[in-house]
Symmetry: C2
Subunit: 249 residues, 2 copies
């Protein structure tokens, strides 16, 4: 298997989800091959950044130069992971992907984007239109609309600022500290308001799938009649394929 | 905080426990200080080794030279973690500590031993005698008896080989793959057979505390009248103190 370099900590609860899924799915693959226990686990090097630091480095929308400090922290982290033997990298979080182009500039490590992994999963589901839910940065960014449009998939127009802010508070106050609270109910209410009957709801923050613990291992699932896409699982499965482990879909 | 270098994957379920505890206890400390959310998390660089590989590198008891390949894999991993900025290291597992002296030979990174962290926790509990439970390597090694004797603490004489082998099978077959099964009942039966009324039982394999999920956050706990010591929590709390976070005991 290729060694996987992971930038984690953004937040730590979903980093655990990535690590667990990478290990469990690798174990499962080798169990199917009849290998003895303890089963092989994937080679991973992971650096956990501190969100309370990276957040202060955020720049201003529309001002690329203001994001240089933020991008540089991620680029340097990928360089350390590469020096530690990582053969490709991933960021275990959606939000920093808004700056992925700047992060990978001049970097000699391939980085597997959660946006691409999610867009491929959306296509597998045959979705025509997607409601993306995520942090305030993700909701105000064009990153998902652009990558989905390239696949011929529409996105639901931007939600009202008050809804985006309320979702951001739930992510910041509860999910990033490992508490689930009523996040699932809030998400389901948003979906009832803004998702059409045939839309797929993309949980475009890796913490959001933690609000549906019974579906934490499912790339897609239906809850109260709504079709969800779990971006953590989509990203992990793409990473396993890139690492050399065929994933059952 | 000092950056913590963790060798994980041995096995991956307890690596998750280490990472979660490091992050949750750091979050809790900064919440007490009144810091805003998302709360600061610790700087961690973690490399996850594959136990199905390291196990094949094990040498023979009493033949130091035969362990060179095993020790070298851990030493090189610590060197990569140091190069990635780790200011001290730890192995998120008891078993490789049987070879810790060889692993750290020539290494310019301080390593925080789970044996020392556990011996200090045993002293805090005021224990006079300890029953150590762990993998077959740990149960046949003198590492715990030696470090405890240095603190004036006795250890229960070595268990019969058949009991050691049965415990080893539960760790290999279930716990290392993230399954708990009846591990708690097996451990409680062993304790009833071999631990005296005043003995403390040291869960000297970081996977064993996963068999008591309601006590996963407790350095020590009582279950069915037996006093247990959770070596994962003892090690994590010592790491946090070394990193600069005072831990409430």
């Amino acid at each position: 298997m290729k060694k996987i370099g992971v930038i984690g900590g953004l937040g730590w609860p979903s980093t655990i989800d990535y690590y667990r899924l990478l290990c469990q799915k690798t174990n499962a693959y080798f169990a199917d091959q009849g290998l003895p226990k303890p089963l092989p686990a994937p080679p991973i090097v992971l650096e956990s950044l501190d969100m309370s630091v990276t957040r202060k480095l955020r720049g201003t929308a529309g001002d690329d130069a203001s994001w240089q400090g933020f991008e540089s922290v991620f680029r340097q982290c990928f360089q350390r992971l590469r020096d530690a033997g990582a053969e490709f990298g991933l960021i275990a979080s959606n939000t920093p992907h808004a700056r992925l182009k700047g992060i990978v500039r001049g970097l000699d490590l391939p980085v597997l984007s959660i946006l691409d992994a999610t867009a491929q999963a959306v296509c597998r589901l045959g979705a025509r239109r997607v409601l993306v839910l995520g942090t305030t940065v993700t909701m105000h960014s064009t990153m998902y609309p652009e990558v989905l449009a390239a696949q011929g998939v529409e996105t639901v127009p931007k939600l009202p600022d008050a809804e985006i802010a309320a979702l951001g508070r739930i992510i910041d106050e509860d999910l990033y500290q490992g508490a689930v609270g009523d996040a699932d109910q809030f998400i389901l209410t948003l979906c009832a308001r803004y998702a059409g009957a045939d839309d797929v709801v993309c949980l475009g923050c890796t913490e959001l799938s933690l609000a549906f613990p019974e579906h934490q291992d499912d790339e897609s699932f239906v809850c109260e009649g709504i079709s969800f896409l779990n971006t953590t699982v989509a990203h992990v499965e793409a990473a396993l394929v890139k690492s050399g482990i065929p994933v059952r879909r």
